[in-house]
Symmetry: C2
C-alpha cells in the first residue's frame, strides 16, 4: 500500500507513494479540509486544478448533517461531493471532544449532545467505523480520545490506553477495502507516546497518525512531540500529523519524517483575507495595497494570482464580496499544494535541507 521511494540523505524527510482505492498519493502531501463535504468556498474542480491529491472530510459532521444514510444511498461520499480522488475521513473524535456538548466518555464510547440540534448520541468505536464504511472513504481514522494541553499524566495515560483499546476494536470491525490508520496519543509525555506507538504498531495499521498536537501547547513543544514520536514509528508506513499546520510547521514536520498533513488554516485564513505567499503573509485589507497592481504572490500560477491585483482583492474584502473569500482561499490552497510539490522535488534531489533554509528565509523575512 505504501512505498518509501526515497529517503533524503541529509534529513529525516522522505518521499513516498500511498495506494488507495481511488488512486495514488505522492507524499509528503497536504489534504485540504472539507469538513462537511466541501472545502470552504471552493469547488472540486478548483481543488483538482490546484493538484489536490486527497481531500479530508469529517465523519462526525457528516453523521450529524446530512446523515450517513443520505450519503450512502447517494452512492457514497465520492459521488455525493463529486470528488473521484482519494478521501480520508477523520473520525471526528477531536470534534466530539471540542464541539459537542455534555460529553461522557466511557470504555463503551462517547456519549454527547449534537452541537447543531442538541440531540443525544452514543457512538462506539465500532459505530465510527460503520459510519466511515457507509461513506466509503479511502482512508479511515478510528475514534480516539484527544486531550487538551496541559493535561495531567494520569489523564493522559488513561486517554492513551482508551485510544489503544478503541483502535483494537476499530481494526476488528473494519473491512479490508478501506485503509485504516492508527492514532498515537500521549500528550506531551515522551514515555506515553513511546508506549502508545508500541501498542498501536503491535495491533498493526496501514499508517500512523500523531494526534493531540495543535491542542493548545506552545509551538516548540508541538514540534518536539512530533519529532520524538516520529522516532518511534516504523519506516515502512505513512506518518500523518493531524491538524498541522502553518507552512513553517509543515516544513519542520517534513524534516522530522512526516508524510501527511491536513489543516483548516489555508481556507480559514483565506476567508479572513490573509494570503500565504513565498514572501510571508499578506493581509489584503491593509491600506498599503489600495493601489497595488501586483498579484498576491508573483511566483504563483493560480487563477487568483494570474487575474487579479491586490488592489482588487482588497476592494472585494472591503465591499464584503464573497468572491474575495473565494480567491484568497483558492490562492492559499494552491500555495500549500505547491509547497508540498516543491518539498517532494527537493527530497527527490536530496536538497531538502537547503530548500527548507531558502523557503523559511524568504517566508519569514518580514
Amino acid at each position: 500500500m505504501f512505498k518509501l521511494i526515497h529517503q533524503d540523505k541529509n534529513s529525516r524527510a522522505r518521499l513516498g507513494k500511498l495506494n488507495t482505492a481511488h488512486g495514488e498519493i505522492d507524499t509528503p502531501c497536504f489534504m485540504p479540509v472539507g469538513t462537511q463535504g466541501a472545502v470552504k468556498t471552493l469547488s472540486p474542480a478548483e481543488l483538482e486544478e490546484a493538484h489536490t491529491q486527497v481531500m479530508l472530510c469529517n465523519a462526525y459532521h457528516l453523521f450529524l448533517r446530512p446523515g450517513i444514510e443520505v450519503i450512502r444511498r447517494s452512492g457514497g461520499l465520492h459521488k455525493f461531493i463529486s470528488w473521484d480522488k482519494p478521501i480520508l475521513t477523520d473520525s471526528g473524535g477531536y470534534q466530539i471532544f471540542s464541539l459537542a456538548l455534555l460529553r461522557k466518555v466511557s470504555d463503551k464510547g462517547v456519549e454527547f449532545q449534537s452541537h447543531i440540534d442538541g440531540m443525544r448520541h452514543l457512538l462506539s468505536p465500532e459505530d465510527i467505523i460503520d459510519m466511515q464504511s457507509g461513506l466509503g472513504s479511502d482512508i479511515m481514522m478510528p475514534l480516539d480520545e484527544c486531550v487538551h494541553y496541559p493535561c495531567s499524566k494520569d489523564h493522559a495515560r488513561q486517554a492513551m490506553e482508551r485510544t489503544v483499546d478503541w483502535a483494537r476494536r476499530s481494526k476488528q470491525s473494519a473491512e479490508k477495502k478501506q485503509l485504516l490508520f492508527g492514532i498515537v496519543q500521549g500528550s506531551s509525555y515522551q514515555d506515553l507516546r513511546k508506549e502508545c506507538v508500541e501498542k498501536i504498531t503491535g495491533i498493526g495499521f496501514a499508517g500512523y497518525a500523531i494526534g493531540g498536537v495543535s491542542v493548545g501547547e506552545p509551538k516548540n513543544l508541538g514540534n518536539d512531540i512530533v519529532s520524538f514520536t516520529v522516532g518511534f514509528l516504523p519506516h515502512d508506513k505513512p506518518r500523518y500529523v493531524m491538524g498541522v499546520g502553518l507552512p513553517e510547521d509543515i516544513v519542520e514536520a517534513v524534516d522530522s519524517g512526516i508524510d501527511m498533513f491536513d489543516c483548516v488554516v489555508p481556507t480559514r485564513y483565506g476567508r479572513n483575507g490573509t494570503a500565504f505567499t513565498s514572501e510571508g503573509k499578506v493581509v489584503v485589507r491593509n491600506s498599503p495595497y489600495i493601489q497595488d497592481s501586483g498579484p498576491l504572490d508573483k511566483h504563483c500560477q493560480c487563477y487568483a494570482c494570474k487575474n487579479f491585483s491586490r488592489a482588487y482583492l482588497r476592494h472585494l474584502f472591503n465591499a464584503e464580496e464573497m468572491l474575495g473569500l473565494r480567491l484568497v482561499s483558492l490562492h492559499n490552497i494552491n500555495f500549500y499544494l505547491h509547497l508540498m510539490h516543491q518539498i517532494r522535488e527537493a527530497v527527490k534531489k536530496d536538497e531538502f535541507v537547503s530548500f527548507k533554509r531558502d523557503f523559511l528565509s524568504s517566508y519569514l523575512k518580514n
Copy 2:
C-alpha cells in the same frame, strides 16, 4: 453601432447586434449584475463559461468604494475586475434615490450622504459622466431622477423634465469613445412617457433605456409601461429595460420589442437557495430534495448541474457552506443566459411566439 438583424414576423421581438469598444453583443441579451465590480459569488471565468456577453457595474457604488481614481490608475474597470468583454455602467441614479441618506435633488444634481460612511457628496450629471469615463465602461448611463410608484403626475412630470435636462448635459460632457444611452422616465403616465421619448430621442443617444420600472408598481402595470413605451421608441436603436426581471417578465418584454436586460434576481435568488429551472423554481432547502439525486435542471449543462445533486446542494445550504450559494448562483446565471440564447434562436426562425408559449407553459406549470 446597432444593427437590427431580424424582426420576428409574429411579434415585436427582434434580433440585433450592438457594437462596443470591447466587442459585439447579440441581442436580446441579459447582463449579469456586478454592482461593486463582481457578480456576487462568481468569477469572471465562470461568467465567460456561461457565455456572458456584457456585465453591468454600478458607478455610484464604485465611486464610494474603492473610488474611481483607484480604478482609473489600475488601468480602468475592465483590467481592475479582469473582464475584457463589454461593460455597461449604470449611473447609480436609482441607488442614490433608494440607498443614500438625506438626499436633496436640484437642477444642479443630487446631494446625499453615502450609505456606507455618511460622507456628504454632491454629484452633477457631468460628474456622473466623468466617473464612467474614468471607469472606461463601454456603455454609460446618464444620471436620471427615478421616482417610486405610486407618484403624483406633477412629481412624475418634474422628474421626467429634470431627467431630460440631465440627459442633455450628460451628452454634452460625454466623450465619443463610450456609448451613452438615454433614459425614459414618466412613471405610469403614458403621455409623460411619450413626451419623454420625444425629448430624449430629440437629443439623440446610442440606445434607449426604460427606467422607473420595478419600483413598486403591480406586475401587469410594469409590463404595460414597457409595452406602450417601446411603441414610441425608434426601431434602429437598442432598447433596454432597467432592472427587469424574472424569466417570465423577460420573455414578456422581448415580446414587446426589448433588447437588453439586467437584474440581480439570478444571483440574489441563488444566494437564498432558489434555482430557476425549465420547470419552474426549485427551493433547494425543501425536504423533498433530501435524497434527490437529480440535478437542479436536467436540461442544463452548467457545472453545478453536471456535477451535483439536489441532495448535495440542499446539504450545502443546510450546513451553511458558501459553495452552495456559488453553485445555485452559477446555475441561475447559466439559466438566464441560456434563456436569452433560446430567445435569439427562436426570433431568428420567426418562432418566438411558440417558444414563449412553450417556455411559459413548462416554467409556470407548478
